[in-house]
Amino acid sequence: MKHMFINSKNTSNLLLLSLILLVIVGFVIRSYQIESHPPVDNDEFAIAYDAYSITQTGKDQWGVKMPLFFKSFGDYKNGFDIYITALMYKLFEPNIFWLRFPSIIFGTLYILLIFLLLSNITIDKKLIIIGTLLMTLSPYGIFFSRTSSASISQSFFTITSILTFIYYLKSNHKKLIPISVGSLLLSLYIYPSSLIVVPLLLSGYIFILLKKHEYTITILLVVAAFIVALPVINQYLGGGSMIRFQNVANIGMKLEINEFRHHSQNDFVSKIFQNKIVYQSFYLLKNFIYHFDLEPLIYLRNHVDQHDNGFPQVLIITFPFYILGFIVLFKQIKNPTYLIIALWIVISPLPSIIAGSGFNGKRSLTFLGSDIVLIILGLSYFHNIFQKKLVYFLYLICIIINSSIFVYWYFSPYKLLAESHLYFKTNKLYQIVKQNYSKFNTIVYTTKNLGEPQNPVLFACLFPPEKYIKIKVAKCSPWCRIQPFDKFIYMENIEDIIKYISLNIKDNKIIGFLSSDEIEIIKRKSCYEILSTFQPKKNYLNEKFYLIQFEQCI
């Protein structure tokens, strides 16, 4: 059994040494400055507080005991990552580092997975090292290993399943099938993308198993899959998780169809071509192709959001081999191993495109590693050239230089951009509450300015979950809004806050986190002292925020 996991031909000391070195490098890059970069988003704060709540009470923040799906904002998050984080919090302490630690581990283990996968595709040690290096320094691998977004863990278990299935195909060892399918089914409880990935990949497995005349095991597999998937199906059909799909539906499409039908006075031809099925197919196809397009693959986009760091997915130095990899894959498609890889590549973008987005790295993260497999397949075409040590080392150096550009970009210009544009106010509020919760009686801010970030403030002061469950007043339709609670007073407008303060101010222990516009309004009506000011380092919008302490006017 041991021998199956590492091809004996490839197990040389050099290879193992390289692997260990790369795993260490991968871990260091993935964990460096993890508490501050990237900024923590609202979903991560929600995971953190739910995990904390589980460790303290065994219930989520809504008082449900050990749920499989966490209600959170009303979006019913899959529970796996929350429980893993809860375990971290039980063993260590509840903070951002341990919140993100599971992602770092999954991201680092991913390097090992790709190493093993490549060992099954090529016997060339040099190419395996190149591939493992590419995974270690993969822009998307690093990006998604540094946030607690569940997509990296879902992706990890999906690739584990693919790898184990490939091992089964090579060894014919039937014990591997339950491991492969189990790993795949586990991903159903991790991230919603798996709802699309799992049935399709499973169909691929079944197809191959039937071709190998494995009827009994196929039937057992289908039954087991159905039983395991039942709670997930139930959750999506009747448990409220459907909100995720409603949220991402393509609303503009209907307007477009109506406009085009109006142009042609709704005639017969327009009814054939201008309808929902045609348009949906058009957008699905367009978004699918876009995942393999030049722009996301090799073009540095001036784009920053929590799902995309804008850096190209494939290093430019490897791009020609990525393309060539498709041809090599296509040529060997009849081989079941390559068929599974092809299926993996085709299925990965589907969650993203079905959700209506052009390219969403988080939703389509299952692709992570498939690009490297393609590159290695492409490189294997030039196997002989890379046997020359000089060529090999030159190429290795080129990859390291190209990757270093990403690492520099990620920790320098991008860090600056992310700090300034992603959840700047939420993270500042988190710090303010963390430092001042015990010192003050009331903390005020407007929802116009900050939204309703109850999770950052709850996690900042580690608000007792039992108490929160009792005092919380919420309105859900279907997204949940929490009414002001404990020391946290947040209202839509600054005027309402002023009114509240004038009625309730009895001491000087009220602080507020307000924008410069709000300060302008408050200037005329209240007395206060500015404790500190905050502004984004890349301040394109010229924003400024203040932490103020309210005082009684003399």
Partner: protein, 401 residues
Amino acid sequence: MKKNIYRLIGALLIGIVINFLIKFVIFNSVPNSVSSEEIKNMQLLGLKTSLYSLSFRWLPKLLTILIILLSSLLTYVKTRKILLSIITLIILSFSPWLFILGQTLNLHLFLLTIIVLLLISLCHKKYWIFIISFIFILFKQWLDLKLPNLQQIIDTWPLVVRLLDFKTLFFTGDSASQYLKIPKTGYFLFFDLIPLFVGIYVLLKNQNNRSLGKIISGLFIIGLCFLFISQSSSLNIYRGIIIFYSVSLVIAVGYEYLLHNTSYLLKALIALIFVLNVFFTYELFYYHFDKKNSFEWGYAETNAINQLNQKQIKCINITQESGKLKQYVDFFNNDVNFKTNMISNSKLDDICYAKNNCYCLLREQELGLIGLQKEDIETIFSHYEGLPIYFLIPKNETHVY
């Protein structure tokens, strides 16, 4: 051999008939108005036309047909494959980028025609690339070509990536301008994507297509050079014209391979999807092109001139804001029965309400200057999609300050 030549001639004749039908009958009046760029090109070529005629577009249509026929001939000469030759004919006839270029008067079609002509006559010579590159010098003035500096080269690379993006090529087309863009269509039909991949694969793998492959790769490199030397203000469809031509040839190779190496059922399926894709695209062009892109065209201007003639108005006052209308009035002066005066914004009140026969034709933003709102105006000249552009100020308006 002889049989093949007869077949080829037959195919070319059928191709001519179909292209004439499509370009001169079915889509003869789409786009339904003259664009200001076409007016500039007509001035440059010394063409004169009537406001009521789109006959000046015969020239680009004929050039397009010539390009299609020559390309079909070229693929036959280089590969001796009759099927590939016929497919080239079909692909170029229905390729959105060439079709739309053929529907409007533009100077880039002249360049492409000469390139294809040179290819036919010089493709056996090794130096054809240099000759074609030399042609750029002849077109330097017409197409505003310039050697780029280092900064311009660096700046143009993102455009190359965007232009060769599958999304741009097959689904969206030019995102910077609506002028020559069929709604919801790229430069190619979206089903062409599969034959493109197959075509690249065949050209790389198959020895028989080497000579055609060399021409296509040469054209692609020339196309890239052309993209770099053309001005950034130029439309992407113009800048990428040679690249698109080479890509079309790759697509034709892909289709030929697919049709040659698949079962009858698959052949029928490919043909069906292609036909549906053509219908989908050309329905969009026929019904929606003028309406979706009407701002880029001159429907409002030609309509305004036409109606002012019918109303027997002798004189109109316009401001700088109506510069586009002035361009149309000047060019179609033989069909214009009224006189135009350019006036300044500051004197609108005095001029528009003066007791004479000269009417004011104003833009929406100018109505406020004389205390009117667009709801007060009866005679409005709009874009084809209905957006009001010019407002004819009535003389009998009771004007209260």
